[in-house]
Amino acid sequence: MQFTSMILSNAEVSPGYWRMRMTAPQQFASATPGQFVMVRVSGAIDPLLRRPFGIFDVGVHAPVQSGAVPQPYFEMLYRVVGKGTAMLSALHETDVLDILGPLGTGFNLGSPDEEKLIVGGGVGLAPLYLLARELVKRSPVRLFAGGRTRDDILCITEFERLGVECYTATEDGSLGECGLVTEALLRRLDVLKGRATIYACGPHGMLNAVAATAEARKIPCQVSLEGYMACGVGACLGCVAPGRGHSAETPDFRCVCTEGPVFESNELKWRD
């Protein structure tokens, strides 16, 4: 659906990372973890295209005054990287944005009787919070959050509040253990008893490593991809990612905005 949304709050949660809460229509409550929205950052023609963002959380704000109507909202967690995100970060409460969504195919929550291992790199945590919120209702959940420095580790207290056991790793050692988050994941897998599913979102290099680990250990794994998008609805075919069998001779492209952004990692082609 397409709707006009009013910003309820927009705050920097860590240097360069912002969390925005905005109003949503009632039907937006149907959004599932892993889906995304396309945001028109300004009404002008530059920047021209909408920007895709994961849905960090959805909820209903119950006003304190009696008689006021509860207001459904959703949240985004975003990193300022260029023109569009810089403009977003300059917006204030009561400013309005044109939103398309929820879009795409999100995570499959899978079977409850297994451990859920969530892996997030930097702002890749954005679509994983709503996922964790759903998963903790049914299964034990562990989060592995990685980043270059402590500034890239976001919203960990929120995850902890859900009852998720959190591990953090930074490349410079400024928070949690020093190194890559995939190393912490590997150690957990070494002592794992019973079944598990991995859910991951983050930089492509991290996803590549997680997918390789999942493949080697024969653990089901779902990843959320990014792709350059113009439309978000399956029309421009700009956003595609190569499927497992893809080669120059046997091309196989998957549409990230409709078939994804979440894919089973073994459906996709990864670097060797």
Binding site: M1, Q2, R40, I45, D46, P47, L48, L49, R50, D98, L100, G227, Y228, M229, A230, C231, V233, G234, A235, C236, L237, G238, C239, V240, A241, P242, P251, D252, F253
Partner: protein
């Protein structure tokens, strides 16, 4: 009184002059949630080929100020899947559907025109001649009047449906191409297709697009498109469809003044999936506000 918005596009009756552009509106159904398909004049499918095409590697798109570059590589489901999976949807929509198509040889173009001619749900054909001719060293059909004419005559012989030829702007003189296509039997000309462009990532010292170059579209190309429509409208008799950077009713009406009978909305549908419907509504409101009883009275009414 409600103004008369209807136009006759080479025998296809449009309830209003606003169409959607090929490659920006899927096969129609992708937009059904956002647009009342029966509020626009016509829609044009993604370009079809004989065999399915997988398209180019990524990145395939990049935004530039006021526009975007795309190098999708004409990814499409192919004519067989189009007939099996996409045509049934068209059956229930009371709006003309135009099939856009392309080939790598004159024979492929003719074969596609023949196949599309047999589909009752297809109201008209739009032939994309901005494709390389593999039999002639890859020269783009639409940049050589002789090549273009041979494609158009072959398609003309293969179909009785209205035949729209979509012109490439990547030529020195678009009027020469327009005349060649009209003489070869085109019932209508649509222009412009995308302009070839390029974007560079300075930090990586590489082109942004995997294909290096891509087609430039969006509001930034409108002045060029308007100029070409105006030039061609003066030179040919067949109706013209204006395309290029149309974002609102003002843009669309400018194309009509320049000589277009209808317009196509492209990139705007990515930014606002309801763009075509909105533009049609706003055009009607403009006519009403300006006391114009019939949109047809504006076609080519530019005063110079």
């Amino acid at each position: 009184m409600k103004p008369d918005m209807s136009v006759n596009l080479a025998g296809i009756m449009l309830r209003n002059p606003v169409m959607t552009a090929s490659g920006t509106f899927g096969y129609g159904e992708e937009f059904a949630e956002y647009v009342n398909l029966e509020s626009i004049g016509a829609f044009v499918t993604k370009g079809l080929s004989l065999k399915p095409r997988a398209g180019n590697p990524t990145p395939r798109i990049v935004e530039t100020p006021g526009g975007m570059l795309n190098a999708i590589g004409l990814q499409n489901v192919g004519i067989d899947a189009f007939i099996a999976k996409k045509v049934p949807f068209l059956r229930n929509v009371n709006t003309p559907a135009i099939a856009n198509f392309f080939g790598n040889t004159v024979d492929e173009y003719a074969e596609l025109a023949r196949r599309l001619d047999e589909i009752p749900e297809v109201a008209g054909l739009e032939v994309n001649i901005s494709c390389p001719n593999v039999k002639q060293g890859g020269i783009v059909f639409g940049t050589d009047p002789g090549c273009a004419a041979s494609v158009v005559s072959a398609c003309r012989a293969a179909t009785k449906k209205p035949l729209i030829v979509k012109l490439s702007p990547n030529v020195t003189d678009v009027v020469v191409m327009a005349r060649a296509c009209e003489d070869a039997g085109a019932d209508s000309l649509s222009l412009i297709n995308t302009l070839t462009g390029m974007a560079i990532d300075l930090g990586r010292r590489r082109p942004v697009l995997a294909n290096i170059t891509g087609g430039f579209s969006g509001p930034a190309i409108k002045p060029i498109a308007l100029r070409m429509v105006w030039q061609v409208a003066k030179a040919v008799k067949v109706p013209i469809i204006g395309i290029g950077g149309i974002m609102n009713a003002t843009d669309a009406l400018e194309f009509i003044l320049a000589g277009a009978t209808a317009v196509q909305v492209g990139t705007a549908s990515f930014i606002n999936p309801g763009a075509a419907q909105q533009i049609a509504g706003e055009m009607e409101a403009w006519l009403l506000a300006n006391g114009v009883a019939d949109i047809k009275s504006l076609i080519g009414a530019l005063e110079v």
